[in-house]
Subunit: 338 residues, 2 copies
Amino acid sequence: MNEKVTSLQVAERAGVSQSAVSRYFTPGASVSKATAAKVQKAAEELGYRPNVLARAMVSGRSRIIGLIIADLKNQFYPLALELLGRELQERDYQVLVFFAANSTEGIEPVVQKLLDYQVDGIITASVAMSNSLTERCAAAGIPVVMFNRGQDDPRLSSVTTDNVAGGRMAANFLVAGGHERIAHIAGWQGATTGRDRTLGFLDGLRDLGREVFAMEDGMYQREHAAEVARAMFSGAERPDSVFVGNDYMATAVMDVLRFELGLSIPEDVSVLGYDDVPLAAWPTYQLTTIRQPVTRMVTATVDTLLDRIEGNPEPKQIKITGALKIRASARKPKGFTS
Amino acid sequence: MNEKVTSLQVAERAGVSQSAVSRYFTPGASVSKATAAKVQKAAEELGYRPNVLARAMVSGRSRIIGLIIADLKNQFYPLALELLGRELQERDYQVLVFFAANSTEGIEPVVQKLLDYQVDGIITASVAMSNSLTERCAAAGIPVVMFNRGQDDPRLSSVTTDNVAGGRMAANFLVAGGHERIAHIAGWQGATTGRDRTLGFLDGLRDLGREVFAMEDGMYQREHAAEVARAMFSGAERPDSVFVGNDYMATAVMDVLRFELGLSIPEDVSVLGYDDVPLAAWPTYQLTTIRQPVTRMVTATVDTLLDRIEGNPEPKQIKITGALKIRASARKPKGFTS
DNA sequence: ATTGATTTTGCAATCGCATGCAACTTTTCT
DNA sequence: AGAAAAGTTGCATGCGATTGCAAAATCAAT
């Protein structure tokens, strides 16, 4: 029942040495046509396939990429995960997924496990790396690239959109739309993405001689954002517009505004998001948002990682520029082109 | 830079044999307190961790579970994936994810790769297994359990909800609600889930002396479901209710009804879904649906799989009963309790 | 036909760990 | 105290491949 076919058995049946079999399955190795044919025949008959783990042991490369992910609830990440997985698959790497606790802590044991599995590289999505972990990965010679999160450490690669610029775009758009009381429900300020978007947004307002009317951390959580929205928009003088730290929260905010507070969007309040998740395009939300070009981000991530694995040791910090995607959730200034 | 610490180095530093080190890290092996202490100290100082791949080679168990998934767009699956991942992680298994083409074909090479990686078991989510593949996995002694999809083959384990019963519930609910023209936008009829739900629904209607007013395959695709809905509800005599094969399509249908056809839900049309994805509870949709208890499904899946890996060779077909979750997208019959 | 250059091939070592076996220690019991 | 039982330990082997090296075979060129 449990039949394992090894290269040795193939070798015997083909009448060649075990090395020959190995070479046949190693691209670029030296095998004559004659032996190749013999090996192929024997391998086929026996249903032989090389054992990737054994190969990994001696070659030192497992062709496994560890992916750490914290939050699949935010619709941006399933999308990213799928694209990452497919892209790596195409390049003949596989993805070992680890789920981390949402906090910055708690990924310690996860990275440890990852190292135990001898992964060739690590991608972190929406997760921060501590210093000691970066240390350990660097020591083990395992490249790390952070997806959609930045870090100061120059040993780390990262791929993000230009979140500061994105924040600015949001500010410009809302001001141009003639809004007077501009609010901000921020992305989690413990994450670079959240901080940078906020930073850009505030800077943008300031440059236009404005100030934020109200501001609160939404923590990148749906429920938390909803509560913040409730409080923020219940007062007598409510904001006439709000820039929300990501689409996932923005939809929650819209729900609260519409269904709990009876407000119209964009007539009473303009809402801006960040990410452009699929949901944002649905007719219910029609969310105007800063698009993160996820496909390009994924390609950049994979390129960077494989580059480092296959030689080039320099980490890269890549910033892709996002773009405003205008829909119907925010008042559209005259003369603004999507 | 690239420092690999092996058990041998630990052994030397601790002044014991390599076997002792190995035993220290093998739960249940025989080590005295004295050596254990020495090994622990040395291992800690060197930052040693056992190489999982090497262990896999000799023990024959990789503690890797292959997960094949086709569709992360349907919000049910990210959720399932996360739960599966976390549960397996807790039991000290890791998940190697593979993305399959959506079709039934095309998973051939994926399973092949999976076998190459010496996974201890396979979980398929929303994917069907061909006969020859089942054959191969059985031959390799690798248990397979299908998540949210059934199969006739008795060699395969599967975990689903009782989709036939679920379909019946939908029928009962709509009839009890006094609907006259009951329609059905079915789940993909190429999948057992889709077929069974439809089957149960039609049977349920028949038992109540009714017939389906209109019916079409939605293919489990948002866009396709939307088109079907457009056609189905544009005619002069439109349905007054529709049971949709899953929530993912149901939200698309609702969007079409509301935003393209200007219909009210549930006043003009009642909509029923299947799954109870998080989205279904959002105020915009308030979707009445047949809940698939995903946590229990996941637990059952993992239990079944690990059971088979760790000894018990019998495949199991598990059917978990779903339950109607009443919200506001369908007219509520009097006396129906949620 | 002979030599030199180039390819192919097999041998054997290696990767890092687990484990059966035999030798040795310690504990338990009479 | 001595014998039997139980617990530890190290040696040596094997898991299934890759790969450096040297021998053998093929090819090219005189």
